[in-house]
């Protein structure tokens, strides 16, 4: 313990070496995870770079350096070491072991989750500059109005700590708060440290635009309800939409003592969502034609639409007298993939498999979300469809120290689900042991789309793993 604390204090010193004589508070954790994944080598998605066995060790330090009572610097940094192995793939109709090889999963990660300076000029005027995770919306598993931060893992929202680079001026009053935020878009970065922001340099000029996001928020506590009105303006920042104006709203309130209700919505004109091009994924010849003609297998067909596109999350939470908690959230995305888009997706996946079987180089069908920043998540989730349900049940304090939890993420288009049970034991005040399971279920065959080879394809049923188990030991210091 003392070595870990000493390392945390050393990191504090490195991060804020300029500060002389300030008050330093350090905390953090050491998190060890061991997971076994059964790769679904027989599925449509490739599994060659997905380790079946993975050990992961994360050292997190959170350091706060106060120079006076309401002026402080803060850093939240994680060092992550990975040890993956036991790769498996599909060769000649067989599930085969593959040799260990360098993959992204094997790389060590330094995640600069947050680092910022916070200064209170007077109680009603506050400035924050740096990298910070700020969420204004009331959603728990998902936030439609969270445009800037790396996506949460909906099976455990505490699992993503990373924020976004920004400057925020805030005016908190008794029941009202006004916030102004400017966030330069990070165009290139390493370990959370930006190497290029706002504009591409002349020697790597990918475009000549300024990339940024501005936001204003008014919060009010009215009739015991949290109300937020948000306005966002950005240029090719969080997505490819140029000069995009978006409006967000959020509300949360308790009813009947224990019943919480919340709604969070984002409205924008058009959408930068990528859709698979049905005319390019019917055959390898057709796909090659689209790519060689300078096109892509995806299209952003709604980019210049003038229609208002809403993304709405409605949720409720109930806390029972035995401390158990049930949460239900429904997400609607007007620009989400339709059944026709999922059919094109299934056709694309079939092509991908055919290309692999033929030994062709990878067809550019990057369907999986690519994480640019933040901690490695257990389950990367980017909602593509129109309708989702997030449900969770938690029973804490079983024999005081045990917590049982069940999280279900469901696509309501095909009723495929990801089921995540977990069981945690707070063994001491500084050690928590947790066992997790991740089981993707395909849903009824009648609701799935059918690929060219007859395979039934559903959103979670086509995940590249059949199941995953994970043991975690988290030691706080």
């Amino acid at each position: 313990m003392s070595r870990v604390r000493a390392l945390a204090l050393l990191l504090a010193g490195l991060a804020f070496s300029a500060a002389a004589g300030p008050k330093v508070e350090a905390t953090g954790y050491l998190d060890g995870r061991f997971s076994f994944t059964r790769s679904r080598t027989w599925g449509l998605l490739p599994t060659d770079d997905q380790p079946q066995v993975q050990g992961l060790l994360e050292l997190n330090t959170q350091v706060k350096v106060s120079v006076r009572e309401h002026s402080f610097g803060y850093s939240d940094v994680s060092l992550v070491a990975n040890r993956p192995g036991a790769y498996r793939g599909w060769r000649d109709g067989q599930d085969v072991a593959l040799p260990d090889h360098p993959t992204a999963a094997a790389l060590p990660v330094v995640s600069l989750n947050e680092v910022y300076w916070s200064h209170e000029f007077v109680p009603a005027l506050h400035l924050l500059v740096g990298k910070k995770r700020i969420t204004w919306g009331a959603g728990v598993a998902f936030n439609p109005t969270d445009l800037l931060n790396p996506r949460r893992d909906p099976t455990d929202p505490t699992f993503q700590r990373a924020g976004a680079w920004l400057a925020q001026l805030e005016v908190p009053l008794e029941n009202v708060t006004f916030s102004l935020m400017a966030a330069p878009t990070v165009l290139a970065q390493g370990s959370g440290i930006p190497t290029q922001m706002i504009r591409w340099p002349s020697w790597d000029k990918r475009d000549s635009e300024d990339h940024y996001q501005l936001a204003a928020r008014a919060y009010a506590l009215v009739a015991e309800a949290d109300l937020n009105l948000m306005v966002f303006y950005g240029n090719r920042s969080v997505d490819a939409l140029p000069h995009a104006l978006r409006v967000g709203v959020s509300a949360s309130r308790y009813f009947f003592v224990d019943q919480e209700l919340h709604v969070e919505a984002l409205f924008q004109q058009g959408s930068a969502r990528a859709y698979p091009r049905a005319g390019c994924v019917q055959s390898l010849r057709q796909a090659a034609g689209c790519v060689s003609a300078g096109g892509s297998l995806f299209e952003t067909r709604a980019l210049s639409d003038e229609a208002i596109v809403p993304r709405v999350l409605v949720g409720t939470r109930r806390q029972f007298l035995d401390d158990s908690l049930v949460s239900l959230e429904y997400l609607y995305q007007a620009d989400g993939w339709t059944r026709g888009d999922y059919q094109a997706y299934a056709d694309g996946l079939t092509l991908l498999k055919q290309a692999r079987d033929l030994g062709l180089p990878g067809v550019p069908l990057a369907f999986a979300p690519v994480q640019q920043d933040g901690l490695p998540v257990r389950f990367a989730f980017e909602p593509r469809g129109q309708h989702y349900l997030f449900a969770s049940w938690q029973k804490p304090r079983i024999r005081d120290d045990f917590t049982l939890q069940l999280v279900v993420v469901a696509s309501l288009l095909d009723l495929s689900t990801l089921v995540t049970p977990s069981f945690a034991w707070s063994a001491t005040e500084w050690l928590t042991l947790t066992a997790y399971g991740f089981v993707p279920l395909p849903g009824p065959a009648g609701l799935a789309v059918t690929a060219a080879d007859g395979t039934k394809v559903s959103e979670f049923g086509s995940a590249p793993f059949a199941g995953r188990g994970m043991l975690e030991a988290k030691l706080f210091f």
């Binding site: 969420t135 728990v140 908190p172 949290d226 005081d400 706080f476």
Partner: protein, 242 residues
């Protein structure tokens, strides 16, 4: 006797008569609120929860209170909860979780940090407004006994029986009931200390869980500052996590 001293003597005699009379239930509740929840203060508390297996968990917290309905709690220890914060503003309670980097609304009836106190026990010391009291004969010597009935649904309990010392109205014991009349918890107040000139209160409150008799939680007041700076901005969601 001069005409100038007569009114003074009359006032003194009336005052003595008033002191000798039993205080009203409302006066007892106001005294309880002034003792256990002064209008503004900053304090450091230690909460120790004893569980059914005999083991215990200890939490160290900093409290800040303003007016009747503004309350902040910062958890200092242990490491697993360090950085957690609680804000009560009116009927609303939020918990800030440092791992989540945001605040979530919680209900008033939730257990306070998994112990035997409810959020409202700790964050809502406002008996005069929350309960209607009736003075009844006390079973404890040298005490008054007040039976309290909740005025609305946001209170932690539907009924409370409160015992206070006759000599200074300091709380001694309390019993907390569900609407069915079932005894849920009981509290013992002890170690009355003078924390500031003219301000004394029990430094220790032991809350027993009557449904699970092996369980109890002890809240010890380490220090309290009645002249703390508590601007209204400290009691806003925007201030959580700072």
């Amino acid at each position: 006797m001069s005409m100038r001293t007569l009114p003074l003597l009359l006032a003194l005699s009336l005052g003595t008569a008033a002191l000798a009379a039993e205080p009203t239930p409302e006066a007892i509740l106001r005294a309880y609120d002034a003792t256990m929840g002064p209008p503004t203060f900053e304090a450091e508390n230690e909460l120790t929860s004893v569980r059914e297996d005999g083991s215990s968990r200890t939490y160290v917290m900093r409290f800040l209170k303003r007016d009747l309905d503004k309350f902040r709690v910062w958890f200092r220890e242990p490491a697993s909860v360090k950085g957690q914060e609680i804000l009560r503003l009116g009927e609303n309670v939020w918990v800030y979780l440092p791992n989540l980097k945001r605040a979530n609304r919680v209900a008033n009836r939730d257990a306070f940090q998994g112990g035997d106190f409810n959020n409202a026990d700790v964050l809502r010391v406002n008996y005069a407004a929350d309960y209607a009291g009736t003075l009844v004969p006390s079973e404890l010597p040298d005490t008054y006994c007040v039976q309290l009935k909740a005025r609305h649904a946001d209170t932690a309990y539907d009924a409370v029986t409160l015992f206070v010392r006759k000599k200074d109205l300091q709380p001694v014991r309390a019993r907390y009931f569900a609407s069915s009349g079932k005894l849920l918890r009981s509290a013992e107040f002890s170690d009355v200390k003078e924390f500031a000139p003219g301000y004394s209160r029990p430094a220790k409150v032991v809350m027993r869980n009557e449904l699970l008799p092996a369980r109890s939680s002890t809240l010890v007041l380490r220090r309290i500052d009645l002249s703390a700076d508590a601007p209204p901005q400290r009691f806003t969601q925007a201030d959580l996590g700072r």
